[in-house]
Each structure stands twice: as C-alpha cells, then as structure tokens.
C-alpha cells in the first residue's frame, strides 16, 4: 500500500511534466471560471490552451490516435489532469462536449459527420452543450416534452419545438445534442430520439438563468420550429433513451479534488474570531468536533479517489466507492459555509468581499451549495443510484413505465 507511480506511470508523468513546463501558461491570463459566463478574454485563452493540448495529443488522451488522442489509459488522463492542475491554466468549457456530446456523436453518427465535428471540438474551435433537462423533468430526463415531428413536405426533416433548461454553456456553444419526444403514444422511454443541432439556428433562443447565488452559469434554451435534417439524428427513431445512456456513461471520471472553502480555511478563520469568554472560536469544543468531522470526510473522499486511481492504475474498473463524492462534498460545503457564517455571529450577515472573511468565500459556499446538492444528480437521486446499482436494492415502483406518454399526469 503506497502512493507511488508504477515505472510506466512515472515515465508518463515525467513526459507530461516536461511538456507542461514547456507549454503551459505560468500566469493566469484571465480571472476565475465565472468569467466564462460572459465570454471575452478568458474564452480566447481557453481555446488557445485547448488547441495547444490537442496539437500534442493531450486534449483527450484516451481517445484513439485516429481521432487525435493518444490511445492512452484512464490513469494517464488522471496523471495529466493532476499535473495540469499545478499550472494556472484557463477554465475548461470543453469538458461537456468532449466528455459527453462528442463521444455520442462518435458512437452514432456516420463517418462524414464524425470527420466534420470531432477535430474542431477536440481543438476547442467548436463548443458543444448537452440539452437534456427540461422544466417538466430534471431528475426524470425521460419526462422530456420538447417534441420533434416530421416536416410535412416529404423531406424527411424534423421540426423541433419546446424548451430545455439548466443547459451549461449554451450561451457560447456552437452545437448541442438534444433529446426530444418523437412518439407521445409510446411509453416515455420508448418515444424519444436524439439529434445534434446547430445552436446558431434562428429558432433557438438562449436565455441565462439568474441563480439564487447571483451568478448565471446555466441557461434556458427555447426551440421554436427548428428544422433539422434526418441525417442529424443520432441512433434510431424512438431509441433516444438508449443513446442518452451512452452519453451519460461517458461522464468524466470524477477524480478531481475539492475546491472552495474547506476545513483548513475554516480552521484559519476560527483562529481569528472571538468566541466565548474572549477565547478564539477555535477553542470552542462544538466547533472543534465539527472541524474534525469535516477533516475526516475530506480525507475520506481524497483517499477514496486514491482507491479509484489505484483501480485504474491496475487496469481495473473503479469500484462503486467512486459514487459517494458529490453527495458528501455538497452537504459539507453547505454545513461548513453555514457554520463559518454563524461563527461570525451578528457580523455573519455581511457577505461583502471587502468585509467578510475569505473575501466572502464562506458566504459563496453557503449560497452555492443548494445548487451543488441538485446539479448532476440530486442528493436523493444519487442515494437511489447507490442503493440500486451498488447495493442491488429494487428500483422504485414505476407507475409511468407502461403508459403512453401522452396519458401521463403532468401536474403543472
């Protein structure tokens, strides 16, 4: 039991380090990831860095060489990510496209389409978004109501109408993959189809969502009579659910570390704030116990990632333990942020970065955490996934499975 690279891994790490040292930026070109929301300088820097990685085969290391990868192993990608994270590289707006959308295109599109899209996406010249969630279905993706019907002119084209929501990066994406209802007479999972769409189509309107945290990282996307060719279809008609499973299967291995305010920032802050009897808050036993719990959770997740990497390193499929990360981290972010704010007592309501500790970082955790507990699978859905896929407990009783989609109760 150790943390050492195998000889092959060490050699690869050395190669990656040398390349990064020669190629990676040494100073941050633009500000935080949030700046991507508005495009601008940060996007140009992101695209330039992506192009440079692609030119050396580092953009998607596990992809085959013919598509611009290295035909590498998952552990090599993990090694690259870890080394890359040591440099102030610009934010990466390409991950959803390269991790989920483009692999779906590669799996289901014809050769011509693949040749057209894969290279530009890999080099960061074109960005993709994933249009799955809808106002009528967040956790329940198969409740999608956005519909596609055949054009009545005999062209075989499809006309898409409806609304998607919570689409990350739609405002700067060139293309997207969209799942739509094509047969409302069929049960929900059996009447959907996947297409790729050109986001510059005049029938597509992107509106930013104003989040409760104040930011706007996500969008609503409205489709009004958007005409797409049948050749834009990915997979068979009404087979979209199966296609979407391929998309979701390609989700990036979650081996990244935590970000934002954690136990060490809390410890530092607690040293400088006055608690009971004039002693610093860090001397408060209740605070110390919470701090211990957060430390233990954080280390537990860190070493769970090490176990996942060990499986990859041994050429095995990672075990189910990798599924616990977000459900632990999101709740901790909320609890820690709130405890930090409460430790300030009355002053805690101030979130002005000029006045609040950590430039308002704890307040940012407090206000961002509700989103993290929902995005990418709610706490409840993740627990269902653990219970069903890891522990083998039965799925919930489904009242909607064998009913024609059009006959399902919809509420509001």
């Amino acid at each position: 039991m150790d943390f050492n690279d195998s000889p092959e891994e060490a050699a690869y790490r050395a190669e990656v380090r040398a390349w990064l040292e020669a190629n990676a930026p040494k100073t941050r070109t633009a500000g935080a990831a949030d700046e991507l929301e508005g495009g601008g300088d940060s996007m140009a820097a992101s695209k330039a860095w992506q192009a440079r990685k692609a030119s050396a085969g580092y953009a998607q290391i596990t992809w085959p060489k013919e598509w611009g990868g290295q035909g590498g192993t998952p552990i090599q990608q993990v090694i690259f990510n870890a080394e890359e994270a040591k440099y102030p590289v610009p934010p990466n707006p390409f991950q959803i496209g390269l991790g989920m959308c483009v692999p779906t295109v590669m799996a289901f599109a014809d050769a011509e389409t693949k040749t057209r899209f894969v290279g530009p996406a890999l080099r960061g010249e074109e960005i993709w978004c994933q249009l799955f969630s809808e106002p009528s279905g967040g956790s329940d993706v198969a409740a999608a109501r956005t519909k596609a019907v055949r054009a009545d002119d005999g062209s075989g084209d499809w006309i898409i109408s409806g609304q998607k929501v919570w689409t990350t990066g739609a405002q700067f994406s060139n293309f997207g993959i969209v799942i739509v209802r094509t047969d409302p007479e069929a049960p929900k999972h059996k009447g959907m189809t996947m297409f790729w769409v050109d986001m510059s189509d005049p029938g597509i309107e992107v509106r930013p969502i104003h989040q409760m945290s104040g930011g706007s990282g996500f969008n609503e996307v409205f489709f009004t009579d958007v005409r797409v060719k049948d050749s834009q279809r990915l997979g068979a008609v009404n087979d979209g659910w199966k296609v979407s499973l391929v998309t979701l299967m390609n989700e990036r291995l979650a081996v990244g570390g935590p970000s934002g305010a954690g136990w060490s920032q809390f410890l530092e802050a607690a040293r400088g704030i006055t608690g009971f009897d004039g002693a610093p808050v860090i001397k408060d036993q209740a605070v110390r116990e919470k701090l211990a719990d957060w430390y233990v959770q954080t280390k537990g997740l860190e070493h769970t990632r090490n176990r996942t990497m060990t499986a990859l390193s041994r050429g095995q499929t990672p075990g189910p333990e990798s599924s616990i990360g977000k459900v632990v981290a999101a709740v901790q972010m909320q609890e820690l942020g709130n405890a930090a704010v409460e430790m300030l007592d009355q002053y805690g309501i101030i979130n002005d970065p000029a006045l609040a500790p950590l430039k308002g970082g704890f307040h940012a955790s407090l206000m961002g955490a509700p989103g993290l507990r929902i995005a990418g699978g709610t706490d409840e859905i993740l627990k269902n996934i653990i219970a069903e896929r890891v522990l083998g407990l039965p799925g919930d009783i489904r009242v909607d499975k064998d009913v024609a989609f059009k006959d399902l109760p919809t509420g509001r």
Binding site: D2, G300, I386
Partner: protein, 370 residues
C-alpha cells in the same frame, strides 16, 4: 498509485474470512454472550494462534510471521466482521505493539514469542473511573517496582496474563508492564458487550517494569494507542460492512404494504447513508494502515481520522441495521444487537470519538501553525 491491499494481502484476507466463517459463526459468539462464566472463546483463541495471526506483525526472530501491519489490518477487518469473542485487540494491538515500540530486548525476547503462540493474553489498564484520561486522573502508583492501585474497566482483565498499566512513579505518569500472576485481584464487571470480557483490577504490590523513559507514560500510551486505533478501525470497518450486509439482506426479503421494504426510498436512502459512511471509513482506515506500516510522521493524524470515521460508521451501521429490521431487530435472537454492543465496545475501549476529535484538531492546529 497503489492504495489498496495487494493480491497477496487480499488472498490472506479471503482465507481469514473463510476460516472465521467456519470457526466463528455467531452461534459461537453467543456462547460467550450467554454464559457469564465464559470470558472468551478459548478454542477459537487457540485456533487463531494456530493460524499465526497473533504474530502476523511480530518479527520472525521473535516467533512471529514477520508479515507487516497491512496484513494485520486485513486480519483485524475479518475479526471485526464476525465480532470474534477473543482478546485479540488487547494482546496484539496493545501489548505486542507496546513491546515492539518500547520494550527492552529482554522483554521482547521473553514475551513476543509467547504472544505469537497464544500463551500470553494482554490487557490495558488505564482508566480508574468515569471521565477523560489525564495525568490528574491517575492515582495508581509504582514504588520500588511494585504497583498499587485500582483500574476499571479493563477489557480482558479477567483472563490476561500481562497488563499495560498507567501509573505514577515519583509523581510522573509512566506505562508499566505487569505480570499478573500475583499481587492483583480481579472482579468481573457487567458491561455493554458481554462478548468481550472486562474486569476491575486491584493491584497490591504487583511487580511492574516501566516501558520507555520515566515520566513519558502518557506520550508512550498515545503512541501505542495511535497504532491500536488503526487496527481497531479495521475491526470497526469489518463490523460496519457486516451491518450493511445484514440490513440489505433483510430489506431484500421483508415485505410490508405489498412491497419489499428495500424498494422504499426511506430504506434505500438509509442504506445508502450507511454505505457512504462505510466507504469514508475504509478510505481513512487505508491511510491509517499506510501510516502505521511505514511509521509515517502523519500517523497521529491518520490514526485519529481512521478512528473517528470508523467509530462513526460502525455506530451508524449498527443502529440503522436494527432500525431496518424493525421489531425483530430488537430481539435477543437476531444478531443485530451483537454488532450494536460491539460498536459501543470498540468505540469506547481506546477513547471515545470526542477524545479523538479533540486529539485530531490539536494535531491539525499544531501542523497548520504559522
């Protein structure tokens, strides 16, 4: 990255599991539970000695297998799974570790081979009453190599041949090795977990040899306890995993309101919560195992984290396993209470979680100073 048991270690662990499933079913554990006169399962103890497990981490020159602490962790996890009613922790995690850490060559040569052979049973006598351990709470004293004082509770105190005793010498706490054939009286105590014996020990002039330097007893005890904590964490992980398995098995056979109870989200989420805690505990325990095996400077922090996570996981799994079972889980006949009891025993025997949380944060404060 190589942060898991190796294939050889997994093989050993699997063999240990098979051996214990055959030799330590809960029917055997219950014989100790139901019989007040039976302090431990002597037959199992002899069998475990025969497997060489008592000396897994003891060097070959002292009669052990000389494997290492990762292997001992693997065995500990398996013992925890079956709530083995034997004085393994007292003897191996505490007495053997203390001797290997601070024993003289003569003490090691005399005792380690006997520990490996199952001829010596250890116990740790530190507590004298309710509340936290501290220098001020130690009243037992050693003078002229003779120990006097009262210690309770002492796990395995009824059956031990040798004790590690915290006592003051010239007013300074020291850790003493006491051979228990004379100068000590033993009274059995009624405890939460009757599958693990405990006693009140009254020493009156028992011969005592100090381990380590004078006045450094608490520091040495902390070092020994850090090592034991990692091993105990593996026992706790084993117990916690077994709780999840029991709860899951019941959720997959019990019907209520026309459905398997395992199909209700209230149960599914409860079991998912157990799973998450168990995995966090396992990952922290692995780090503790690495630190223990390599004598890393991080051992005190790693051991604290392992102990806190494992105590939490076993407690949570044990209580929610009973809850998942409903009424039948509250009966003597169902094994769930064996794990509930053991989770309390293991959490308290080397310091309660709040003690370890305090210890962890103190270490973090020092490390993150400046």
């Amino acid at each position: 990255m190589n942060f898991d048991f190796s294939d050889d270690q997994k093989f050993l662990k699997n063999e240990a599991r098979k051996f214990l499933e055959a030799n330590c079913p809960t029917s055997r554990v219950r014989k100790v539970l139901d019989d007040d006169a039976k302090a431990y399962d002597a037959e199992l103890w002899a069998a475990v000695a025969g497997q060489g497990w008592l000396g897994a981490a003891i060097p070959e020159q002292h009669g052990g297998l000389g494997l290492g602490h990762i292997e001992l962790c693997a065995i500990a996890e398996e013992l925890g799974r079956v709530v083995a009613p034997i004085p393994f922790a007292s003897t191996v995690y505490f007495l053997a570790e203390a001797l290997m850490l601070a024993g003289s060559d003569a003490q090691k040569a005399a005792l380690l081979p006997k520990i490996a052979a199952g001829e010596v049973i250890g116990c740790v006598a530190t507590s004298e009453g309710p509340g936290l351990l501290s220098a001020a709470a130690v009243h037992a004293s050693v003078s002229g190599g003779k120990l006097s004082g009262v210690k309770l509770p002492v796990t395995d105190g009824d059956i031990a041949t040798h004790a590690l005793v915290l006592a003051k010498e010239n007013g300074q706490p020291g850790l003493f090795l006491v051979e228990m054939s004379s100068g000590v009286t033993r009274e059995p105590l009624q405890t939460l977990d009757p599958t693990r014996d405990a006693a009140k020990l009254t020493f009156s002039g028992a011969s005592a040899e100090r381990l380590g330097a004078a006045g450094e007893g608490l520091a040495l005890l902390e070092q020994v306890t850090d090592r034991a904590a990692v091993l105990l964490a593996f026992e706790q992980c084993g117990g916690a995993d077994r709780c999840l398995e029991m709860a899951k098995a019941y959720a997959l056979e019990r019907y209520a309101f026309g459905r398997l109870i395992g199909s209700y989200q209230a149960i599914k989420h409860k079991l998912a919560d157990i799973y998450v805690k168990n995995e966090l505990a396992r990952s922290n325990a692995y780090y503790g195992a690495w630190a223990l095996n390599t004598n890393a400077p991080e051992l005190p922090i790693a051991a604290s984290a392992a102990r806190i996570a494992a105590s939490e996981a076993f407690w949570f799994g044990a209580k929610e396993n009973i809850q998942t079972h409903g009424g039948i889980g509250f009966t003597w006949e169902v094994d769930a209470h064996l794990y509930y009891r053991r989770s309390r025993q293991l959490s308290l025997v080397a310091g309660a979680p709040r003690v370890w949380k305090e210890r962890l944060v103190s270490h973090l404060e020092r490390r993150n100073a400046a």
